[in-house]
Amino acid sequence: MVPEFLTIAEAGALIGKRELSPVELVESRLARIEQIDGKLNSFIRLLGDQALAAARSAEAEIMAGHYRGPMHRIPIGLKDIYETRGVPTTGHSKVLLDQVPQRDATSVRRLAEAGAIVMGKLATHEFAFGGPSFDLPWPPARNPWDTSRFTGGSSSGTGAAVAAGLVLGGTGSDTGGSIRGPAAFCGLAGLKPSYGRISRAGILPLAFSLDHAGPMTWTAEDCAIMLQAMAGYDAADPASANRPVPDYRAALSSDVKGLKIGLVRQFYETDNPANEPTQRGVAGAVKVLEELGCSVRELRLSPLADWAACGIIIMLSEGYAIHEATLREKFVDYGEAFRDRMALATLITGGDYVQALRRRRELAAELAAAMADLDLVMTAAAPSEAPPIDAVGKFAIFERPSLTMPFNVCGTPAMSVCCGYTEESLPLAFQLAGRPFDEATVLKAAHAYERATPWRSIRPRFV
């Protein structure tokens, strides 16, 4: 009997000891998807036969003694903005309903080379921007902790599928918080790496200068494993960083004692006030990190609204440029949330866009200076637990400044880490952000925190 829930690290260990076969693992996930996903809508395209064939092939490789690494034989899902050769990649939109790419995204190819088994394509907010929407070809994903709740967006299907144990990991993308938001609401570890760390080639863009690809998993250790497979220079992405990729999993074992953390309390106490359970969760996480030997001191930054304004003006301007021609041709083929949000970009002038870029340089310099004597920055990941899905308005993303956007504006690595649950068993989360290209320290601190707390042993229950 295959356990209901497994992490990537646990599954890898069992398969390595030949106590679990890749075929059994994939069959068990397919059965779970069949049993549960009707309530979650996390998959928009299941690739069951392809996954089973890959599992049989992996089994043969194992019998022949070939081991590709810790992602070998691991069932994952891909947000449906990651292009897949021969398999439709739609952005969850009617606009690209029939698009069948001729190539895999670079990160998909790298995951395949690492031996990961793709189970299917996962729901997303339309083009990683418009949602939750009920007027698209597929319904929006639902939160496994309470299916009346929002998953967060835009990597909504990945959040739901990983939390529910339908896959062991999945890909997300993050332009203003689209990995960390669903990770927070669904209780995952979600890492937005540094800008340039993972290739964007072959991933449908939302905003070229803010888009980040990254892993979403149950634990920080799994994020490290998945990041290892996805990261690295790619000439096909003009923003790709030609820098060495460290051994992220090995870095997890080093001590967190002495790490210096700046706590940006102002973001979630005054700029976008978080509710009481969230504030309690973050305060508890600070205490745990201090007990582990980290020193935490308060850090003040420019108002959160400045970071959000900068990011949103850039995101709308770049996104509109991408979709301009199609919006003119077939406006109503897009869902209402996408098209009406994007229509606001027609009110942005060229001057507004360049002022946002000038502010971006100032804010990035401010964060870099603030981090000169810090290893990490910490703040809340979301102002509350997941709200009801039908309470999320069309223009909600503009109503309160995003807690996640600052690290898109600066391109620094940032991660959502679960820090407990509400009385209704809904996850709470904080963020850790690091210096550029120092994902290893972010992952190390998150891993140490997870090991010191009970939260990773609590999973959603289905009746």
């Binding site: 200068s209 609204a305 400045d306 959000a308 304004a309 900068c310 949103i312 003006i313 709308l316 301009e324 919006l327 003119r328 406006f331 109503v332 209402e336 098209r339 009406d340 229509a343 606001l344 027609t346 009110l347 942005i348 002038t349 507004d352 360049v354 002022q355 946002a356 870029l357 000038r358 502010r359 971006r360 340089r361 100032e362 990035a364 069309k394 223009f395 503009f398 109503e399």
Partner: protein, 59 residues
């Protein structure tokens, strides 16, 4: 920004927005105005944007 100004911007952009959605977009226009105003601070004329085009390396 008035509803007429918003509708003029949508029309200039060539977007065929359903009538029902126009007032909703107009009602949200203040978000853009507020964000754009926030980005206009007292900065020096030579303050560079974040994106500058790097010259390609020598062949």
């Amino acid at each position: 920004m008035s509803r007429q100004e918003v509708e003029a911007a949508l029309a200039r952009a060539g977007l065929d927005v359903p009538e029902r959605e126009k007032p909703e977009i107009a009602a949200a226009a203040h978000f853009i105005e507020e964000m754009a105003a926030r980005l206009r601070t007292d900065r020096k004329m030579g303050a560079e944007p974040a994106h500058v085009f790097p010259p390609p390396p020598e062949a």
